[in-house]
Symmetry: C2
Subunit: 133 residues, 2 copies
DNA sequence: CGTCACAGTGACGTTAACGTCAACTGCTCT
DNA sequence: AGAGCAGTTGACGTTAACGTCACTGTGACG
């Protein structure tokens, strides 16, 4: 046996194409302990778990979270085992983040409204040659 | 005459306290041409215009825009004179930014919903000791 | 007149999230 | 054996937005 290598693993190239990231990025994430691909000799093999985590990482990034934030939150999806203490902490973190997000959205709403008003005003003043229908 | 210095100017210290920023920040913004305080000898005097711009800068930053983005948009509020071409460009920029903001808000809405669901799930499973009322 | 506190000017340091080499190491194919 | 290529490991470069010195300059005060 080759030390129990799951059958559905992917090489770094396959990962890059599948998720549209660079090899550098994947290695970087590994260094940051966001991913833990199997090391066969010197090469990396990404498991289903790694792919799930990567998907979550990318989603987190789209929302503007730092990799460090993401790393901590990842455990929320991960460990289905005991360690309720850890889990509780993860949830608290998520709740905090949730509040931050809602605050951010509220601010965005205000900004959007302001900008829209500003544009409408400029148009009304005829300062702008009607930009759209 | 001391070369026409407006009466309602503020020193760097006053600005720092009024807007809760550091001197370094104000000097940095000046270097980036976001602010243009009057230079009396070597000292800086911030005018009403500078204060208005700073307020807009800080608001922009809260929304996650880069200083470069902000610098360009600032002209939208500023020049009430001619130069319609420039003005048009500024408006287009604002419209683009508006779209980005709405997209971002949409993503945030999704993320918020997902997180909420996730938390509710965790609670339902009894994995977490009821974090709030 | 000394010195203090504040202002100002470089200029280098910092964090995040990678990009970009350079220089290997192994395979694999011929 | 040689070529070629994917993959790896450092290690330095990059952008943004300041922080943090170190040092100079200056007006006010006792």
């Amino acid at each position: 046996m080759t030390t129990e290598i799951p059958s559905d693993v992917m090489t770094i190239r396959e990962m890059c194409e599948a998720y549209d990231v660079t090899p550098r990025t994947l290695r970087f994430y590994e260094a940051k302990e966001l991913l833990t691909p199997i090391r066969v000799g010197t090469k990396r093999l990404f498991t289903r778990r790694d792919r799930a985590r990567l998907a979550l990482i990318l989603r987190g990034k789209r929302f503007g979270f730092s990799l460090e934030d993401i790393r901590q939150t990842l455990d929320l999806y991960d460990r289905d085992d005991g360690l309720t203490a850890q889990r509780k902490k993860a949830c608290e973190l998520a709740v905090k983040r949730l509040a931050e997000m809602e605050a951010q959205r509220a601010e965005l709403d205000v900004a959007i409204a302001e900008l829209k008003a500003e544009l409408a005003d400029a148009e009304a003043k005829g300062l702008v040659p009607k930009h759209a229908a």
